[in-house]
Amino acid sequence: MKKYIANFMKYKYLMTELVKKDIKLKYRRSKLGILWTLVEPLLTMIVLTVVFSSIREKSDPTFPVYILTGRLLYSFFSSGTKAASKSIRSNSGMMRKVYIPKYMYPLAAVVSNFITFLISLIVLVGVSLYLRIDVTVHVLEAIYPLVILFLMTLGVGMLLATLEVFFRDLEYLWGVVLMLVMYCCAIFYPASMLSGNKQIILDINPLYALIKNFRNAVLYGVAPDFGALLYAGIFAAVSIIVGVVVFYKKQDEFILNV
């Protein structure tokens, strides 16, 4: 373990360079640049609010925050796993010439997405203040779902990165899976809309468990649902273990297949 940490410290600077590169290049040559991390979720929130407010019976002034919380967490999971799964292939040129630990690539992809995600939380703060959401002490508990979300994305991302080296099809397949996950996350419909046994769709979805806890913390100002947190935490732990083990077993074959 000590050896791994020492090795990571050696490449720490490379890690920051890779993360910096991802963030810098993402919005380079666009006029608004990094501001897009704020503008994009704001616009999406407005569109979703306008579209889905009409199908709700009673109007709820906090609905935009409801949408925004779900949407931000989901889009980090989606972009993070996508970027990680492509990271091995898109860095194949580098990988062929210089030796660096290969987990750097998916890790950098997830970290850079996490940083842009954290920046985009500014929008959430702004909208919450504008709509006068009561901020309670529970807001601090938002840290739990965020940490679990990061680990879950990294684990799933590493697993996908490994599999995608051998099967390109996964890129498209994963896009479809993500869409399914999105509809099962209660992003733009109230969770109570699913009645009776349909509720199980939300219960088994670890990403929804995180969104729910995040909403408890920042929107409703109530204590976390520890059952859901534990479930998501276990899911994240399992995905990290599986992701890392599969990645390590297969990493020496990457270069022969990219």
Binding site: K10, Y13, L14, L25, K97, F166, F167, N257
Partner: protein, 276 residues
């Protein structure tokens, strides 16, 4: 005289699976898996390669195309993991292989100095300190703030060379890169490499040019079909290589002569037939 070992390669073998057709989608894989048609053809690019390089020695690696020279360098650089055997290195390796391969095209020259430097394992402080030296050596001037995608290949190679050679490595891997940029820069880069030689660096040099190898190296190994067939003093190994080349040339000449005779015969036959 017991000099320290800089590099030890022991029984290294590198196997590639050549599948007749590439299976990279799930459907095909599944069908093939069920039909048990997933057989590969094995190909050993390197087999049982062992040698040792002492500190400060210059080793030339020679062989025909496809003998496994580049694969061997990649294994030593740590990019490829050998199927069997071990490689032990002692000290910092700087591979001057395909310069600037880690560059990002959208990044400017200046940003790439930091990225590529980080890839080669430099620290930020070190790059900060050496930044001016790198820019000056690369002679890029104002272009350092232009995205790399607008560079000529010579400019790119110059920048890559300047970044890679800013450290004093213990082991230097050269793959016929002594020809970087224009004549003037070439001279400069050769001078830089020679100054590294003077500092007692261990060198691994790959080239087709026997002349260059003889000039730069004192030891050599000869690879053929992934095996070491000769090693030792550079003159001896070069002599074996020359003999092999000559033999091959003679064989080719003989074959050419045979083909020419055959063609001539056919032409005459055709003429005969036309007459009839």
């Amino acid at each position: 005289m017991a000099k320290k070992t800089a590099l030890k390669v022991e029984h290294v073998g590198m196997r590639f699976n050549l599948n007749a057709e590439k299976v990279d989608n799930l459907k095909e894989y599944f069908i093939k898996f069920v039909k048990r048609q997933l057989n590969y053809q094995e190909f050993w690019a390197l087999k049982d390669v062992s040698f040792e390089v002492k500190k400060g020695e210059h080793l030339g690696i020679i062989g025909l195309n496809g003998a496994g020279k580049s694969t061997l360098l990649k294994v030593i650089a740590g990019v490829l993991k050998p199927t069997e055997g071990t490689v032990k290195t002692n000290g910092k390796i700087v591979p001057l292989l395909e310069l600037g391969a880690g560059f990002d095209k959208q990044y400017t020259g200046a940003e790439n100095i930091y990225l590529y430097g980080a890839l080669l394992g430099y620290s930020k402080e070190f790059i900060d300190e050496k930044y001016d030296e790198i820019v000056e050596f690369s002679e890029l001037g104002e272009f350092i703030n232009v995205p790399i995608k607008n560079y000529s290949s010579g400019m790119r190679a110059r920048l890559g060379f300047s970044i890679a050679t800013v450290v004093q490595p213990e082991i230097l891997i050269l793959d016929e890169v002594l020809s970087v940029g224009d004549a003037q820069f070439k001279k400069k880069s050769e001078k830089k490499i020679h100054s590294m030689f003077a500092n007692g660096v261990t060198v691994l040099f790959v080239s087709h040019s026997l002349e260059q190898v003889k000039r730069l190296c004192d030891k050599a190994i000869l690879l053929e079909h992934g095996r070491v067939i000769a090693k030792g003093d550079v003159e001896d190994v070069a002599a074996i290589y020359t003999a092999k080349l000559d033999k091959k040339k003679r064989e080719r000449k003989r074959a050419n002569r045979r083909i020419r005779a055959e063609l001539k015969k056919q032409a005459e036959d055709a003429k005969q037939r036309n007459k009839e």
